[in-house]
């Protein structure tokens, strides 16, 4: 029983990460009908930029070397207990989210926008190209090895390991952080899309790009925004992924990327709440399958779920079935 609870909590944690990444796929797909294959690299870049940010924020020596010596007074606070740690995390998220978001916007501008009216496979191939490019750029110019996600002295960034015990199962601080943050971000994005003027413009563009343009929506800006928000959320997931598993590598984005896409499809691609639901569902399914069926085949199980969902219900759980327009 406690094993079941443990696996479920692991699954919800994993699901939170998938949901964050899945939002990026679903936002872009909803507007452009493009599978942004390079999105998994945003997750990876987030992990790398986040690691650099965390190191600079926590290590006075490194900050000095890189010209961030002025951070010294706050560093002491960041390194002193839980509240400092959480603030440091927030700063990291803001910095790396913004940087990765800008990378996302650059890829949109140069790789996808010229292909807006091209045959449908052209932008997908372009996206694969971007993905290969970014992976190898990190491999060549950063490191081809696994980097530990830890402070300069090798200890974890998280000050307290276990948050609390639930029915005899230890729940780690990271798990609590991931679940709380992801749900908060998901709710925030949902409100943003549902309540604000810009959100309404995004929904209008997703519904009919040309008509939205005629109604005065700046379609290009909306698309740019989608390519900022998605990668920024992906970056947060990438940082969490690094902290949760303790290391990052240049090819870390591929498998979570495909699985998050699966999550987006399960929930109904193009549908934000669907992506969240799909993320948590897939996380729990994978974690239970890994615990009770086979750990070695957990990826296979996730891919089988993808294939079955696409065959049985290509529209996903919350999506409407889309008929091809002639």
């Amino acid at each position: 029983m406690s094993y079941l609870i443990e696996q479920t909590i692991n699954g919800i944690t994993l699901g939170g990460l998938y949901a964050l990444v899945a939002l990026g796929y679903t936002l872009v797909y909803g507007i452009l009908l493009l599978i942004n294959f390079a999105h998994s690299e945003m997750f990876m870049l987030g992990g790398y930029i986040g690691l650099l940010a965390l190191k600079v924020l926590s290590d006075p020596g490194l900050a000095d070397d890189l010209g961030f010596g002025f951070l010294e007074p706050v560093q002491a606070f960041f390194n002193s207990g839980t509240i400092g740690f959480i603030l440091m995390l927030v700063v990291t998220f803001l910095v790396s989210g913004a940087l990765v978001g800008v990378v996302g916007m650059i890829t949109e501008r140069f790789a996808y926008r010229p292909l807006r009216n091209a045959p449908r496979l052209a932008p997908l191939i372009s996206a694969i190209g971007i993905s290969i490019f970014l992976q190898n750029a990190v491999l060549l110019w950063v490191s081809s090895k696994q980097l530990p996600y830890s402070r300069a002295d090798g200890s974890s960034f998280v000050p307290v390991k276990t948050a609390f015990t639930l029915f005899g199962v230890q729940v780690s601080t990271m798990q609590v952080l991931i679940i709380v943050t992801s749900i908060t971000l998901l709710l925030a994005l949902d409100t943003f899309i549902a309540r604000t003027r810009v959100g309404r413009a995004m929904r209008a563009t997703a519904q009919d790009r040309d008509a939205a343009g005629l109604m005065g929506v700046d379609v290009n800006r909306v698309i740019m925004l989608a390519f900022f928000i998605g990668p920024a959320l992906g970056a947060v997931a990438g940082i969490f992924n690094g902290m949760y598993y303790g290391s990052i590598k240049y090819n870390m984005g591929f498998i979570p990327g495909v699985k998050s896409f699966t999550a987006a499809v399960i929930g109904g691609i193009g549908n934000l709440r669907g992506a969240m639901l799909g993320g948590f569902l897939l996380g729990i399914i994978e974690s239970l399958a890994s615990g009770f069926i086979s750990h070695a085949y957990r990826d296979v199980i996730a891919f089988i779920v993808l294939i079955v969902v696409l065959i049985v219900r290509p529209g996903g759980l919350l999506g409407e079935s889309v008929t091809e327009k002639v």
């Binding site: 292909l115 449908r120 490019f133 970014l134 190898n136 491999l139 060549l140 495909v258 896409f261």
Partner: protein, 398 residues
């Protein structure tokens, strides 16, 4: 008056090209046969034959994927799954039957290899082919990963996991004549000693397979099936309305492409004398897609040149440096190997924006991808030639 001039020029042009083409083809054929012999004879260049064999296997793979991506317009991101199925089926069955078949093992195993590929293609294709293009790409990707993970987890106790096949000291049976040729065909040449090495043997086997594939694919492209593929690729709904059975045509494309992958897999396993899941990772699928896209979707010369450039050049540079023919420092060498994916990634993006039809495009495909260009403005003779042909394109000649 003007039309008459254009028409006359066009006819002369076509005649001239034809004569030139014959000479060109004969010259190419002689080169294709002579080059490996020269490499083999020249001391220290024998490894180039090996590179050509590997490139040849990649040409086979790219030709197979070209049917799926280039002709039928379906993006398959898990193509190595069929390659892997062919390789493992060939090795496992070959090991079981080697005592009976002896030197024929490899040639007989081409059949189960091809069948394994084609059947896998059908099994995957049957449920998923009604999906839209981009969904199909992701499903095939997932399927490729399922196959790779299953192989490396020693599924059913058959595949020996990450260590690969054949196990330990076992060897695969050498095909007919390879040993005899190696033992008996040796003589001095001005360039050095000539030995008919196994690599040379494989070169001609792979060459034969490529020639057969090119002929078959050419015929297919001109057949009813090929026309159905073109129609389907250009507009699925319109094709269906004209009586093309989309599902069947897609399945044909998928299984014929997969069959070719299976044949390439058996050959690869026999050339290497070894298979492991390492050879069937997702990046390899991407590599084949790169070759087809950069070479020219739907163009046979395009994918052949694509494979030569994309697979051949990095291997060539590496091989030359290892053999000491070209002096390169270790860092230059490793950066060439490392930068190739970076460059390919960028090239894919740039090609999609500026030349989506690839290096050597198929004419029909180029026109599809540049719908705005007026064909008559490009080249009068070319346009007339195609009007005369009424739908039959002459650009797929080998």
């Amino acid at each position: 008056m003007e039309w008459a001039t254009i028409s006359r020029r066009a006819t002369q042009g076509v005649g001239g090209i034809f004569a030139n083409k014959r000479v060109l083809h004969a010259g190419l054929a002689v080169l294709i046969i002579l080059i490996p012999l020269i490499f083999q004879a020249a001391t220290g260049l024998g490894f180039l034959v090996r590179i050509l064999v590997i490139v040849g296997i990649w040409i086979l793979l790219a030709l197979g994927l070209n049917i799926v991506v280039g002709y039928a317009g379906l993006l398959d991101l898990g193509y190595v799954a069929f390659y892997a199925m062919g390789a493992y089926a060939g090795v496992l069955l070959g090991q079981a039957t080697a005592d009976v078949l002896g030197g024929a093992t490899y040639y007989v195993m081409l059949i189960p290899g091809a069948v394994a590929g084609a059947v896998t293609g059908l099994v995957l294709g049957f449920p998923v082919l009604r999906l839209r293009g981009d969904y199909l790409a992701i499903v095939t990707l997932g399927f490729g990963e399922i196959v790779r993970i299953s192989l490396s987890n020693n599924i059913l106790g058959l595949t020996n996991g990450a260590a690969g096949l054949p196990r330990g000291v076992e060897v695969m049976a050498a095909p007919f004549g390879m040993r005899w040729l190696q033992a008996n065909v040796r003589f001095d040449t001005p360039l050095g000693d000539f030995v008919f090495s196994p690599n040379l043997y494989w070169y001609f086997v792979v060459l034969a397979l490529i020639v057969i594939s090119v002929v078959v694919i050419n015929r297919l492209d001109d057949s009813r099936l090929g026309r159905a593929w073109a129609a389907m690729r250009e507009n699925e709904v319109a094709a269906a309305a004209c009586g093309v059975n989309i599902r069947t045509q897609k399945l044909w494309a998928f299984s014929i492409g997969a069959l070719s992958g299976g044949v390439a897999g058996v050959t690869f396993a026999n050339v290497q004398q070894f298979v492991s899941p390492e050879s069937f990772i997702f990046m390899e699928s991407v590599f084949v897609v790169c070759i087809v896209v950069l070479g020219g979707m739907g163009s046979i010369p395009g994918v052949i040149v694509g494979a030569l450039v994309i697979r051949g050049i990095p291997d060539l540079i590496q091989g030359l440096a290892v053999a000491g023919v070209v002096k390169l420092s270790g860092t230059t060498l490793s950066s060439i190997t490392n930068y190739r994916f970076l460059v390919f990634g960028l090239l894919m993006v740039i090609m999609m924006a500026f030349r989506p039809e690839g290096m050597i495009p198929s004419k029909r495909r180029a026109r599809e991808l540049h719908p705005d260009d007026d064909v008559l403005l490009v080249d009068g003779s070319q346009a007339l030639e195609e009007v005369d042909d009424a739908g039959r394109t002459s650009d797929h000649g080998s």
